[in-house]
Symmetry: C2
Subunit: 656 residues, 2 copies
Amino acid sequence: MSARKVNPISYKSVSISDPFWTKYRNLVRDEVIPYQWDALNDRIEGAAPSRAIRNFRIAAGEEEGEFYGYIFQDSDVAKWLEAVAYSLASSPDPELERLADETIELLNRAQQPDGYLNTYFTIKHPDRRWENERDNHETYCAGHLIEAAVAYYETTGKTQLLNLVCKLADHIDSVYGEEEGKLRGYPGHQEIELALMRLYAVTGEERYAHLSRFFINERGREPHFFKQEADRRAERHGRESLLAEGYYNLYKHNYEYNQSHLPVREQEHAVGHAVRAVYMYAGMADVAAKTGDVSLLEACRRLWDNVTQRQMYITGGIGSNHDGEAFSFDYDLPNDTAYTETCAAIGLVFWAHRMLHLDPDGKYADVIERALYNGTISGMSLDGKSFFYVNPLEVWPEACKRPDKMHVEKVRQKWFGCACCPPNLARMIASLGQYIYSQDENTVHVHQYIGSETTVGLSGQQVRLSLESNYPWDGQIKLTVAPEHKGEFSVAVRIPGWCEGASVFVNGQKVSADARPRKGYLKLTREWDAGDVITLDFPMPVERIYANPKVRTNAGKVAIQRGPIVYCLEQADNGEILPDISLPENAELSARFEPGRLGGVTVVTAEAVRGDSRGWDTTLYGKKKRSKHAAPIQAIPYFAWANRGEGEMLVWIREE
Amino acid sequence: MSARKVNPISYKSVSISDPFWTKYRNLVRDEVIPYQWDALNDRIEGAAPSRAIRNFRIAAGEEEGEFYGYIFQDSDVAKWLEAVAYSLASSPDPELERLADETIELLNRAQQPDGYLNTYFTIKHPDRRWENERDNHETYCAGHLIEAAVAYYETTGKTQLLNLVCKLADHIDSVYGEEEGKLRGYPGHQEIELALMRLYAVTGEERYAHLSRFFINERGREPHFFKQEADRRAERHGRESLLAEGYYNLYKHNYEYNQSHLPVREQEHAVGHAVRAVYMYAGMADVAAKTGDVSLLEACRRLWDNVTQRQMYITGGIGSNHDGEAFSFDYDLPNDTAYTETCAAIGLVFWAHRMLHLDPDGKYADVIERALYNGTISGMSLDGKSFFYVNPLEVWPEACKRPDKMHVEKVRQKWFGCACCPPNLARMIASLGQYIYSQDENTVHVHQYIGSETTVGLSGQQVRLSLESNYPWDGQIKLTVAPEHKGEFSVAVRIPGWCEGASVFVNGQKVSADARPRKGYLKLTREWDAGDVITLDFPMPVERIYANPKVRTNAGKVAIQRGPIVYCLEQADNGEILPDISLPENAELSARFEPGRLGGVTVVTAEAVRGDSRGWDTTLYGKKKRSKHAAPIQAIPYFAWANRGEGEMLVWIREE
């Protein structure tokens, strides 16, 4: 392992009090989790039924009925439990914990004697377990349940769910593996790989790490497991059964879709379903961290470079293709047909978090920051009540009726039949604490400037850290360092990639310019004492950002960014036909915090230019260039778009 | 009828000798028609089989076998016959005529005793005639056969095919109509409406005009015919039969798709499948011309304004939506996903031709010119051997693998399973003579500046007109007027919409500036004598064209046009990443005819600007604006693109 690892600091050890994030965390606690519980129990009027809880009751033999929903319906319950676990860590709530415990009881009763737990197969096809992992999401649902169990154990100390998933993992370990008689297969939707590594981390059971590594290593080998599976199904059920599969699986012959086209170590370009991809990359990083497998780490790094240097939107969104919710080819980042699923940006955060701990390089924390403040939370309305799957960078509402843009919603939706994004956002936001700090023996790293407190063991003593800031609206950060007693250790503070001219002060004394940041972190080593204060000053001018020239769609265009926040224009502030607006190269961009606007955001204003549209009513093409006039524009943070009804939106603005 | 009609002059009466078009006409004669004959007879190695001729042999009982191909496979034979007819008019060819006669004999033998002729139903489902006009193309195939018969009769004087189609039309007239016991229906794919009007024109049989008018009037009425048809099928074959239809008809419940969503007189926006639409509008214009129906004419005009002022590409292409090969909503004209089927641009020419004769306004001839020189012939390679269905205005070859751009071909294809565009181009080019002149008693209109000769009866005598030009490369036109004897009449010459500062001379004498063109035509009334010469001088500077600001995709962009020719940039001349090129507002655009280039075209050159791409290899987003450097560019006529292998192409260029 060439890199020097650092250890994550759990969300459990971090208490957040932040003017930006506390709002979101409260929304998750007060809106999203209760709403989701009602949804899982079919108590939302007018919403598509979920029946997810009912499926477990049927599987437990406590109710009559048919399975209902997607084949991965169980995972909605798991994600809810996981979000509940994180939320309980920061906001104890006996009533909510009781609901969770009851749900876990129910899961327990639905689990089969051999450890198997999946309501679809238990109810509908008990004889068809593990015969189509390509499509059936059995390990996917198990993976989410494992993550929930780990989180619930971590925050409550209760072991019932943990025991349940150990039994389930043991069962899966009896089905898959190198040994004679086991399936040499791997998930169709990756997720269990990273989940097993989490389970290993809390249980210390090597078999779980081994199984995760097995799934990673086996993937994409020839003869191809999904082909073999299909052949076996044809033998068992007749060849027509494969035809029937085609009706609901457009991707059955597309192994890039689920990243099984090549062994993972040979993968150089991110391809296929973006969520599957980043969940897998996160699992690969976990396995590399545990095993020190250099070739696996190298694959992670190559894929990281491909994603972040070729295939990522400025918002941290990934997966530009609607078809297959997938990565495309390098530099193919259309703004108006972008898929950029909320879950994919969240998965990118998960992966980046792991990469950062393999190698504390600010480039990983920069991507986490980019996604956190832009392309993830854009998936949720400011009132926490409606959600986007798809996060485009340019919207012309009328065009959303075009078949090739029909996936683009003009306003956020209450809930989805396939409800993956809202609970995924909930668990990310509720577990936000884990992204802020990490440590090794003598150094604490500060990655994100989220107002918080934690206590870290450094150089043999407990050190209390308190971070105060008004980030992302303001680049002044105050970090109070309080060791039990005077002692030498290091505090490595991240200088964000977007920041130029950062100043760092210790107890008011400016840190010498000789102390240059290394890989994005400025390491302050000294003898610290209680009450020492690090002050960071990150200048936050409004910046113009340009895209790589190969991103053809952004030619001649500019995006506005201030600090980590990417801006957009909305029709509500700027009228219609936003692409007609152009921003002169020398136009001054001013920032102003508006407490009453969109829950309190910094708005960017500028004097831009528009063309005169008079006289064009009956003219489609004309020789006369339109005269221009000054047009004041207001840009709002991208994450806050679509909170004022339907209208045009635009991130990349023409520059002149 | 408010407008003053003029009469078309047939392709038969016009002999073309034109440096631009003669090449194309020779290609049609020497390449397209023979190639298509081989295709119809399955003699092309490696091409998808057609079996169209074989289907007729099977239907005639002369060969055993199954029907093969699309349900409208017969129309390929009809379109070939029609193109042959026009070609024979200008290039007599006894061998070709013999092949056509033999084919007509075969059709004759395949026709059923009651006049019915459609090989699909005769071979496969003789009991299912006329039960699903929404999908089955029975009148569509008949319409193309009628057009072929009219043309073949006009050029050869032979009546066998004409008699055949009269019998077929009589049969259709016995199936559809107002009378008790007949179906009150109309075509699923419009075409027979205009064909019946042509049949009426040569036979004088009022029933054919009446049937056409019936189809037009009946369309879109409630209760909806396609619904009634479907109900009858369900009754006859069981409801499952309707489910099965869904598999091959995505548009079964979309009445906009085939313009039956409203009665035609209530239609204001062009919607649905673009070819169906313009064929119908052409039929509506024909019926309006015959009946003087003002409300029908008004509908035609409203739809004309909608198409040409809101939904037409600068190339004359129409139908921006791949899904349904369809019109979209106003101003939705994406360049890179444009469908713009070759046949739709051709259909626009057919419709415009009819509108022009209802009301000789230059705006109609301008659209014909725009489509002829740009978006129709772009469908054919310069060697006449390969074809585009789809004519986008911007191509990034790599992006054609994106599912939402998969309809965009990077290079022209040899032949298609659904072979509508190549024979449609063939018949348009072979019948080009009809677009040049028209007349009323005392006036000849000159619409298109295509080198040609014709003789027109004007004011009681025969007047010979000879037109010489090097159009579209050169705006000097010489029109020699030769009456049998001195006499007064008018010659109305079109001043193209793109032209400013036209000069007109009669016998070298400049026509006074007081003589202003009216509705696009300058009418020269005098006593003409043999040898009088009209000289037109249309200045052809290279022009910059701007799009209506509501066409969001073209904001800040400019197209290059010279005379009627729209230009594009190709990678072959300008390197890759064409969107990176920007054209300074003050850059001079120069034109130069290059005889050796792309078969002889005028190339436009300019000093444009590109950004410096160095240092961006690993950077996706950066703050540093790229420095610019001068970049000479060469633009070629749009119609000639994709004749030098695969590469990027761009019509709308950024302007700065």
